[in-house]
């Protein structure tokens, strides 16, 4: 192109604010990750900061608390991957089979709703529903609070996650389903395929690329078990089974002022997440060059 900078200056000017914001609030913090290799603590003057190499990382992986936190994070993420991830796919398949469009719309309206609430509100709802004073659990004669039971707690995380976002998650699959050519279904019906056969052999394969993309993004977040949710619902009684990397970083870094250790743990999380996306994307591409996110 023969056009010069002078020709496009207004284009650059329009882009400038976002670029400045990106460099300041996204890329500057990446340089700040180098704090993870120093002895920096809150309130320390920068001329006293010195490099400590991989000290915090070595400490982290010999530290029982951190290893437990890591295990919790992976465990909760895996539970969500196993249960929360397929839930919207299943719901979308079932919604798609609903012949009455009016009813389908009403159901959609209702199952999307919880997505629009913050975890603070959802936590409040759960607290009252499962309250041993006025909650519905009283109906079943439950005396002990579910929020104090470590093993039940993780399942509550999974189910509240499904309650909040499975409905909303169907939208992207319904969009993918709506782009499937109706001719497939017509041909299958003439050949006498049953409803379940049509779901299994037409709908599911046609949305598989969407499933793969979302699965990849989810894998990248495997160390991201959901700060808001865990922070809001957990308490000291279940900390051992509920503490995840993000809540750990918040506690160590922000509450106790150990900035360097917190940064190191955060860096570990970011690097693992990013590498997992790249690796998984590569693996998917090996199987099908057209698939994947990049």
């Amino acid at each position: 192109m023969h056009h010069s900078f002078k020709h496009y200056w207004q284009l650059y000017l329009l882009a400038l604010p976002a670029v400045v914001l990106m460099l300041t609030y996204r890329y500057l913090p990446m340089f700040g990750l180098s704090l993870g290799f120093t002895n920096y603590r809150v309130g320390m003057s920068f001329d006293r900061v010195s490099w400590v190499g991989l000290k915090w990382f070595q400490q982290m992986f010999s530290n029982k608390t951190f290893l437990n936190v890591l295990w919790n994070t992976v465990y909760i993420s895996m539970l969500k991957l196993l249960f929360s991830f397929p839930a919207p796919i299943l719901l979308a398949l079932l919604l798609n089979e609903m012949d009455n469009q009016w009813m389908k719309k009403r159901f959609q309206t209702m199952i999307y709703l919880p997505h629009f609430l913050s975890w603070t509100i959802v936590a409040g709802i759960l607290f009252t529903l499962f309250s041993t004073q006025t909650g519905i659990v009283k109906y079943f004669g439950m005396k002990e609070s579910i929020f104090l039971n470590p093993s039940a707690f993780r399942w509550m995380l999974v189910f509240s996650d499904i309650w909040k976002d499975a409905g909303w998650g169907t939208i992207i699959y319904l969009a993918a389903i709506s782009s499937i050519s109706p001719e497939y279904y017509e041909a299958a019906m003439i050949d006498g395929a049953t409803r379940s056969q049509r779901m299994r052999y037409i709908t599911l394969p046609c949305i598989s690329s969407t499933v793969v993309v979302l699965l990849l993004l989810k894998l990248g977040n495997v160390l991201d078990a959901g700060f808001d949710q865990v922070f809001m619902l957990s308490n000291a009684a279940v900390l051992d089974s509920a503490d995840i990397i993000d809540t750990y970083v918040y506690r160590i870094g922000m509450s106790q002022g150990k900035f360097a250790v917190g940064t190191a743990a955060g860096l570990f999380k970011s690097v693992v997440g990013c590498s997992l996306v790249f690796l998984a994307n590569r693996a998917v591409k090996l199987a099908d060059p057209e698939a994947g996110i990049m």
């Binding site: 609030y25 913090p29 990446m30 709703l113 049953t194 990013c274």
Partner: protein, 288 residues
């Protein structure tokens, strides 16, 4: 069209409908429970179980919440950050998206890579906190606005929409002597209303619900946003504990009243947002 009917084809729709009726009840009942509980009489509520209607009638829960000095401040603050973030973020993000959508222009491709990378990798909680602190906006509402204005995913979505627009209108305007900012504000933005509306909803919902940034960057009660105040009330750690009314009213009832008040604005705008849901996600699917 002649099709073969199977036995399962008759049973399935019924089972499916029943399933969705039950599912919808699970989604709606928790709200109903809050409404009923919040209006119930303290002693009658204590028996627990399912609420079909409020038991007795008492607005004590609401009175307690509304005597909190901070509830209106928090409401206004939340509205402020939601509206300002929505407007500025849309403007800035589509500004960058406009450049990115023109891949023949210099720096366009490298900027796109920078945006994509920032989507996949980030500096994390503490380094970001230090940057926010050093830019001098900590403990102001701007700390909840400025750092989130740049939204990489939204930029990529808007850019892919711009790219699919027919270039003919824009080209003829440029030939007629219009400059790029005129093209952007007069042609591109008005034609992109569907994608902008969808992204606006995403921004609004995430800002209205955002909690972590408030926790990190705000200390003063006078700058509290709604989710922060709700958490304080729900954990009964707020100044409500000092009020006389508190000892008379069950904490569950106060929680329920808080939840109803905080959810109401969402329920009111929800029907108006609905038609933009699917459109936007379709755009997301295109990108994948």
């Amino acid at each position: 069209m002649k099709t073969v009917k199977y036995k399962g084809d008759k049973v399935f729709p019924v089972v499916n409908t029943v399933f969705f009726v039950l599912l919808s009840l699970t989604m709606i009942y928790p709200f109903w429970h809050q409404i009923c509980l919040s209006l119930s009489d303290n002693n009658l509520a204590k028996s627990g179980g399912f609420f079909l209607l409020p038991r007795g009638f008492d607005t004590a829960g609401y009175q307690v919440v509304f005597t909190s000095r901070y509830i209106w401040t928090a409401f206004l603050n939340s509205i402020f950050i939601t509206v300002v973030t929505m407007l500025l973020s849309l403007l800035f993000c589509s500004g960058l998206a406009f450049l990115i959508s023109k891949s023949h222009v210099r720096f366009s491709r490298s900027l796109k890579l920078l945006v994509l990378f920032s989507f996949l990798f980030n500096g994390g909680m503490i380094p970001t906190y230090l940057v926010v602190k050093s830019t001098g906006i900590i403990n102001t509402l701007w700390a909840l606005i400025i750092p989130v204005l740049f939204a990489p995913y939204n930029i990529l979505i808007i850019a892919s929409f711009f790219k699919e627009m027919s270039p003919s209108l824009e080209e003829s305007a440029l030939i007629d002597g219009a400059n790029y900012s005129t093209v952007f504000f007069r042609i591109v933005l008005p034609l992109s209303k569907p994608v902008l509306a969808t992204v606006a909803i995403w921004i609004a919902v995430s800002q209205w619900n955002s909690y972590l940034n408030g926790l990190l960057y705000i200390n003063d009660r006078s700058k509290y946003i709604l989710p922060l105040l709700i958490r304080d009330i729900v954990l009964s750690a707020s100044d409500l504990a000092n009020l006389e009314a508190f000892s008379m009213t069950n904490t569950d009832i106060i929680n329920a009243a808080t939840i109803v008040i905080a959810t109401l604005p969402i329920l009111i705008v929800y029907p108006f947002m609905q038609k933009y849901f699917t459109k936007g996600i379709m755009l997301g699917a295109v990108k994948g």
